[in-house]
Amino acid sequence: MTGLKRLLVILISGSLCFLLQLLVLPRVDFLIALPNLILILVMSTGFLFGKAYGLFVGFVSGLILDVIGTGTPGFQALILMLLGYADGFLSEKMESEIIPVLFLILLANELVFHVYLYVFSFLVGGRFSLFPYLTEVFVPEILLTLLVFLPIYGLLLFVSKRWELRINKGEVKVV
C-alpha cells in the first residue's frame, strides 16, 4: 500500500511540476530564467522515498524532457536518473536532515546537471561560450531553483509524513 501511495504522490506532484515547468512558467514575462522544477522533483523523491524511486522518477521525467526538448532520447534521462539514485543513496546514509545541507546537495545536483549539459553539448557540436552560459543560464536558474526548493520539498515532506511514506525516519532540522 505504501508503494501505491508513493506512486500516487509522485504522479500528482510530477504532473504539476511538468505543467508549471513547460506551460505556465515560460509564459510569465518577468522571469528571466526558469527554475528547474524537475530537478527538485527528482531530488525530493530520491530523498523522501529512497534510491529506487529517485532512479525511477529521474529516468521517466528525463525521458519526457528528451522527447519534447533536446531530441536525443536518453540524454537527460541518464543524468537525472543518476542524480535521483545518488540523492536516494545519500538520504539513506544520513542520520538527520538539516536544511542548509539540503540546499548544498541541491546546489551540487544543479552543478552536476549543468556541467553534464555543458560538456556534452560542447562535445556533440553545439559550441557554447562559457561566460554567457554562466551568466545567462546557470546563475539565474540556480538562484530561482534554490528559491522554490523549500515550498515544493516542504509540501512533499508534509504529505509523506502524514501518510508515513518516508524511508528516512530522521528528524528535519532547520539549522
Binding site: I68, G69, P73, G74, F75, E136
Partner: protein, 298 residues
C-alpha cells in the same frame, strides 16, 4: 480471488524482492548510453523511441497548452470596452484607406505578374507551399531555443524545412516525429545563417548568441566595409545558403562598426520575429534542395 493473491504473492516474493535498484540503474544507464550513441551516429529521427513516445505525449501537450493559453492570454484580450471601441473606429478608417490601396495594388499585381513572367522571377514567398502549425511546447531548458510544433511527418513536415511566421524567419526543423516536430530557432546559440541585405545584396553572416537570445538580438559578421546600415538595413536569408530559402526576412541591422582589420564590418541584428510571443508558425514545405533540383531541370 485466491488465485489472484497467490499470483501477487509470487510476484512480490520472487520478482520484486530480487530486483535491486543498483541492477536497474546499470541496465537503464546502458540503455540511455546506447540510445545516445545510436542517435549521435545515425542522426535518424524518423523511427525512434522519441517518435513512439511523441504519439502519446503530444496530444496531452496540446490539451495542456490550451489550458495554459487560457490562463495566460496575451495582452490584446484584456482591452477595456472604451479602448476596443476606439480601436474599432481606427480600424474602420484604416479599412477604408486599405480598400483604396487594394485597388491600386490589384492593378500593380497584374502588372507585376506580367513583369515576372518576363523576368521569370522565381523564389517568391507566395510560390512556396506552406503548412500552418501551432507551437505546443518549449523545451523547458534555459539554454536551448527549441520548441515543439503540432505537425509531423504525417503532415509532410521534414527535417531542414524552414519555419516562418508573418514577421519573418523563425527557424528550421531539426527533428521530426509522426505528429510533432522540433524547431530550432535562428537565435539558438552558435547557429549561423548566411544572409544578405534585401536591396544591396551585401553578403554577411547572422549568428545566434546566448547573451542576446532573450531579447531577440543576433550577431552580424563578415559584412564588407561598404555595408551601410543607414541605407539598407533589412537583412534577409542569402541565396547561397544550403538550407534556407532565399529572401526570408531575418531582422534589421544595428550598431554596425568597422572591424580592426579595416576590411569587414560586424554588428547586431534585431530579429523581425518576437520570439517571446510565438504562437503560430508556418512551415514552408518547399525545400531548398528540391528548389535547386527543379531549377536545374528547367
Amino acid at each position: 480471488m485466491t488465485v489472484f493473491s497467490a499470483i501477487k504473492a509470487f510476484f512480490i516474493n520472487h520478482i520484486v524482492s530480487r530486483i535491486h535498484a543498483r541492477v536497474v540503474l546499470v541496465i537503464l544507464s546502458a540503455v540511455c548510453v546506447f540510445s545516445i550513441l545510436f542517435h549521435y551516429f545515425t542522426r535518424d529521427d524518423s523511427i525512434s523511441i522519441a517518435t513512439v513516445l511523441g504519439v502519446i505525449v503530444v496530444p496531452f501537450q496540446e490539451g495542456a497548452n490550451e489550458v495554459g493559453s487560457f490562463l495566460f492570454r496575451s495582452d490584446q484580450n484584456r482591452l477595456s470596452l472604451k479602448e476596443a471601441k476606439e480601436r474599432v473606429a481606427e480600424l474602420e478608417e484604416e479599412n477604408l484607406q486599405l480598400r483604396m490601396k487594394l485597388q491600386d495594388a490589384n492593378d500593380a499585381v497584374i502588372e507585376n505578374e506580367e513583369l515576372r513572367a518576363l523576368l521569370r522571377a522565381k523564389n517568391r514567398l507566395s510560390e512556396y507551399e506552406m503548412q500552418e502549425a501551432k507551437i505546443i511546447g518549449s523545451d523547458g531548458v534555459n539554454c536551448f531555443n527549441r520548441f515543439t510544433i503540432n505537425k509531423g511527418t504525417m503532415d509532410g513536415v521534414r527535417v531542414d524545412m524552414n519555419v516562418i511566421n508573418s514577421d519573418g524567419l523563425v527557424g528550421i526543423v531539426t527533428s521530426v516525429g509522426l505528429n510533432y516536430a522540433v524547431v530550432t530557432a535562428i537565435i539558438e546559440d552558435n547557429t549561423s545563417v548566411s544572409a544578405m541585405t534585401r536591396h544591396g545584396h551585401h553578403n554577411c553572416i547572422a549568428t545566434g548568441d546566448l547573451s542576446g537570445s532573450g531579447s531577440g538580438i543576433m550577431l552580424l559578421s563578415n559584412a564588407l566595409a561598404d555595408f551601410d546600415e543607414t541605407k539598407d538595413n533589412a537583412i534577409v536569408t542569402s541565396s547561397i545558403s544550403d538550407k534556407y530559402l532565399p529572401g526570408l526576412l531575418l531582422g534589421y541591422a544595428e550598431n554596425v562598426v568597422l572591424n580592426p582589420d579595416q576590411l569587414t564590418k560586424s554588428g547586431t541584428i534585431r530579429t523581425a520575429v518576437d520570439f517571446n510571443r510565438l504562437q503560430e508558425v508556418l512551415v514552408i514545405t518547399t525545400m531548398k534542395e528540391k528548389l535547386q533540383e527543379t531549377e536545374a531541370e528547367k
